[in-house]
Amino acid sequence: MPLSTQSQSGNDEYILVASLDNARNLSNILKAISFKDHAIFNVTQNGLKVTIEDSKCLQANAFIQADIFQEFTLKEDVVGFQVNLTVLLDCLTIFGGSTVPGVNTALRMCYNGYGYPLTLFLEEGGVVTVCKINTQEPEELIDFDFCSTNVTNKVILQSDSLKEAFSELDMTSEVLQLTMSPSHPYFRLSTFGNSGNAHYDYPKDSDMMELFQCTKTQTNRYKMSLLKPSTKALALSCKVSVRTDGRGFLSLQYLVRNDDGQICFVEYYCCPDEEVESNE
């Protein structure tokens, strides 16, 4: 049964219908934030925002704009629901995770509103899979209250430079310390593990540094266990912006290009682990 026939008959019932010719344009970016089971979907006319939170200290968001989808119809202003992300990813990749050139899984994602399951129609090579994933009432999201006016320090780096550092991070260190400063060391990542202390310095005039706007020397520590999952988003991205505000809250924003070269964003917000002297 071709997906197009289904949409004609079923479209009137759904409050959300979003279609992709290539389901990987959704599954790949969701994998970048899939470190917990429960994901909260917030759908507006702008597109999809998927959020995962961890222990009230970390929040990851994936944004997939409406124009990424081949079809995006929303009959209400805002639609919100919670689903099990692991289950959703298993469904999105039902025909296998491998990428064979030219062979795509087409996706139609439909939602009927509160109390209804999230329905996925996936098709590859004439075989159709229908998934109905139970939804729950979305949990209240933390508002990190991170706004650009309170940003004290901001850098934009090419992801390649950070990828190396993150892959080498000493995981025996409980924290990742970030120092941002208008003067030396400018941008420094530090770990304090069993084998000793390690520092990764990025000078402000380095090739990898696309933007450097630091107003105040700040050193903050973040729990390694909270930031480690962000490595997935980093791996997918080509650029990353690192910002801290007056409270030491961290915002990481990743620019991700999908299979078709379109841009999506993933962002991580993290609370600092403890107060640190700013000129340590």
Binding site: D90, C91, I94, G96, P117, G126, V127
Partner: protein, 301 residues
């Protein structure tokens, strides 16, 4: 008791080797039953081997150019041996390019199947590699355990879709549920379904084709083509079956055609893997909800 046989044809040798390789994957030991017309590899389903049973029947003339058998007695003109198929596989591996392979029942320090492979060589005298494979002779009083099983009835049989797709789907479904429902009808349609508290997933396969059973048909002729017959299976077992299949079914492979189809009897089902054109061996695998994996391999008449 006497047994001696010889394979001269490299195609027959390869085929015999492939059969043994398959059996080696299924079980560590089995019964080799030799009769005047057939060679059987049998495993009777017992709790000790996890309820697995297997019946593989080879028409002797299709493999051996020479075949001589003198059984236990004239009324019981058969020989039953317990053997580890891996030993046979290993021996056959060294005989891959042999000009001929002789198999003989011998007595060394214990009863053995002696395999002698004549390997090609540049000189006029070929090299001969000999393997002595220890076997246990099975006394006649135990032969009733190794009788030919009967083919179960079924409601619907249908060819399986390309295994790659089916494997991917079953792999993902295994993450979501322990059990899967297979349903199929006589219209070439098959669905795989799982349902749990969290999610329900149904994959629809179309245009698969149903095997024509002809005179052997045991399914009801008056069955409505659209009606689905369904059976529930432990996903891991289905996955095990799929992992064991090396090639794409329903495609020609050299001289033999390879088919895989599934027969469903409401409530239970079995999967048939058939290599049927030249050598007439059918591998049939029976999977049921409450019984651990059973391999059931009868031949087609």
């Amino acid at each position: 008791m006497k047994f001696r046989a010889k394979i001269n044809d490299v195609g027959c040798l390869n085929h015999f080797t492939r059969v043994l390789n398959t059996i080696t994957k299924l079980t560590k030991t089995c019964v080799l039953r030799l009769t005047v017309d057939n060679v059987y590899f049998v495993l009777s389903g017992k709790v000790a081997n996890g309820g697995v049973s297997m019946w593989c029947e080879l028409l002797q003339v299709n493999f051996f150019d020479e075949y001589q058998l003198e059984g236990v007695s004239s009324e019981a003109n058969e020989i039953c041996l317990e053997v580890a198929p891996e030993n046979l596989s290993r021996a056959l591996k060294t005989a891959q390019n042999a000009k001929s392979v002789k198999i003989k029942l011998t007595k060394k320090h214990c009863p053995c199947l002696t395999l002698a492979a004549e390997l090609p060589s540049l000189s006029s005298i070929g090299r001969i590699v000999t393997h002595d494979i220890p076997v246990d002779i099975i006394p006649r009083r135990l032969w009733h355990d190794f009788k030919e099983p009967t083919m179960p009835d079924f409601d619907v049989s249908i060819y399986l879709p390309p295994l790659k797709t089916m494997k991917s789907v079953v792999d993902r479904m295994k993450n979501l549920s322990n059990y899967l429902v297979v349903e199929a009808n006589l219209n070439g349609e098959m669905n795989l379904k799982i349902e749990t508290d969290l999610v329900s997933v149904t994959t629809h396969f179309r245009d698969l084709g149903n095997p024509p059973w002809g005179d052997n048909a045991v399914q009801s002729q008056s069955r409505d083509v659209e009606t689905m017959a369904h059976a529930r299976v432990d996903i891991r077992k289905l996955q095990q079956f799929l992992m064991g299949q090396q090639v794409n079914p329903n495609k020609s492979m050299c001289n033999s055609a390879l088919y895989i189809w599934i027969c469903i009897q409401e409530g239970s089902y079995f999967l048939l893997h058939a290599d049927i054109v030249d050598k007439r061996i059918i591998h049939l695998i029976l999977l049921q909800e409450d019984v651990s994996l059973q391999y059931f391999i009868p031949a087609v008449a």
